[in-house]
Symmetry: C2
Subunit: 316 residues, 2 copies
């Protein structure tokens, strides 16, 4: 019998600074119910899904920053989501800002978790490719301070066995999706589906001349290439719309292992996008064009791990 | 003053088994003249541009196979192309089957060269990602015997400084374009433009159920993602059309560092596609989203070089 998984991407519209955790969790709960009504067994929520995208603001008071972080998960506010999911037998991916004490040190990460249909947290990921900057840029219309508020993730790119068919699921977050290294590492560990959430501004604050139409194009291009080049399903869920006036693009999408977008959002509001994924579809790709064992040549890839930045190195 | 390069992709229609080298070179010469008339300083010819795509046939007689190979380059037959290019001050990329004696051993590679506008060969590449198989598959409508007729390339992925503006040009061949590792290595060496030729069947012989419309989609997806994710120009030139009844797709394209296809072929015949490339366009991408030095995290990429094939490795 074919291995299938009906997945729902649960896109969030804007979360404003004034919105409480409770009100946000109520929205996540509503979308989980909608996904359940469609027969979904897996719901993918966005990155930093419990608050506004706070790295857009320069804050000097760490106590103010920490209000956007979660010191426990589930927390009293998020517990209703965990309980509902468990009662429905639904697994989910959730992004949040993680505050943790490790070896006597306070640490902060941009984190996501995979929760199994039994309600237990299966796996955690901490964002590796933090975009943006750490310094204040007062001339910029908004900040992108992920490099200030978060540490670089220390857990690497991993995959987990989930659901009744033992589907191999990987996870990453937002900007990670632009880097082919992200998906290749998970592909080499046997990923069949990679899920992620994102908050991506509608304009490119670093390149004011870049036409905004390129933003969703680049998003699609990255996740479609990742899907095809590893023969995997990719589910990418946006937080979208204008948060306190700052505009994030939508473009929530479910991508087949062929690289085709098979389902997508058409709003920048709370919206559930679902697809019944045939897990066998990626197999022919992973066994032919992208049969890694037959075709990859790591002896010629060494620079990928030996060098971080560009060094102009012509052979003549 | 801005650094620009007007490039032409010189797509070839079919080359049949009966066609002589001389007749093929005459077609290349015609297209080089056309490119020159448009002011191009760089012409990109296809992979194995001097013969039919011979790996589609099972041949047991090595002497028969070797008729498709070049033991010298330039050869008497190809010299007119080199001489015309030098007289016009045009550089070019040319793919061919290379037969060479090295350390007392006969070796065969699927090779490409970059020739400078002064007529000198600047750099050589030998295809790393050989697709297909080595064994005879009599039940298949055609063979794809690159793994039989060629050795895996031994020169790695390199870049060269070319033209009056010292543009950093990389090269690869056909199936290499599907592998993000190919472009990342050249990107890390400072590539500003990567050029390649290809021969790609219109159908997927390994997956007869795959809709043929995916073939050009996968080609485009791969080169567009490569361009964007490295902030480089990509020029990809087809050999296209029905060679002795075996159909190769077109899709010759020039891709900007934004990932956009800015020029493309619309036939499966000999056709020159040109674009005046602004070499600065990729800079904002390489300095922001894909500023490798700021954002890459090789410590989490190790598996890319440590592992060739998939090993299913869930963390739970």
């Amino acid at each position: 019998m074919s291995r299938r998984l009906k997945v729902s991407a649960a896109q969030l519209g804007p979360i404003h600074r004034a919105d409480s955790r409770k009100s946000v969790v109520a929205r996540l709960v509503e979308m989980l119910k909608e996904a359940d009504s469609r027969g979904s067994k897996f719901v993918v929520f966005p990155e930093l899904a419990l608050t506004t995208f706070f790295p857009r603001w320069w804050m000097e008071d760490q106590a103010e920053v920490d209000k956007y972080f979660e010191a426990q998960m589930p927390s009293p506010e998020t517990l209703p989501l965990f309980e509902l999911a468990r009662s429905k037998g639904i697994g989910f991916y959730l992004g949040y800002a993680e505050l943790t004490e490790e070896e006597g040190k306070t640490r902060r990460f941009n984190t996501s978790i995979l929760v199994g249909p039994d309600g237990r947290t299966v796996g955690k990921y901490r964002k590796v490719h933090l975009p943006g900057h750490a310094e204040h840029r007062p001339a910029s219309p908004y900040q992108h301070l992920e490099k200030k508020y978060f540490e670089v993730g220390d857990l690497g790119f991993n995959v987990w066995k989930m659901f009744k068919d033992d589907i191999i699921v990987g996870q990453c977050i937002c900007n990670d999706r632009r880097w082919p290294e992200t998906f290749r590492v998970m592909g080499l560990k046997g990923a069949e589906m990679v899920v992620l959430g994102y908050n991506t501004p509608t304009d490119n604050v670093y390149a004011p001349k870049e036409p905004p139409y390129l933003r969703v194009f680049h998003h699609n291009l990255s996740i479609q290439a990742a899907a095809y080049q590893n023969g995997i399903w990719v589910v990418a869920t946006a937080k979208a719309g204008k948060e306190d006036g700052f505009w994030l693009h939508g473009g929530t999408a479910i991508v087949a292992p062929t690289g085709e977008i098979v389902a997508k959002s058409n709003t920048e509001e709370d919206e559930v996008v679902s697809y019944d994924c045939d897990m066998e579809l990626g197999e022919y790709i992973r066994n032919t064009t992208f049969n890694f064992a037959k075709h990859r040549r790591p002896e010629h890839y060494k620079l990928i791990v030996e060098r971080t930045g560009v060094k102009v190195e012509p052979s003549n």
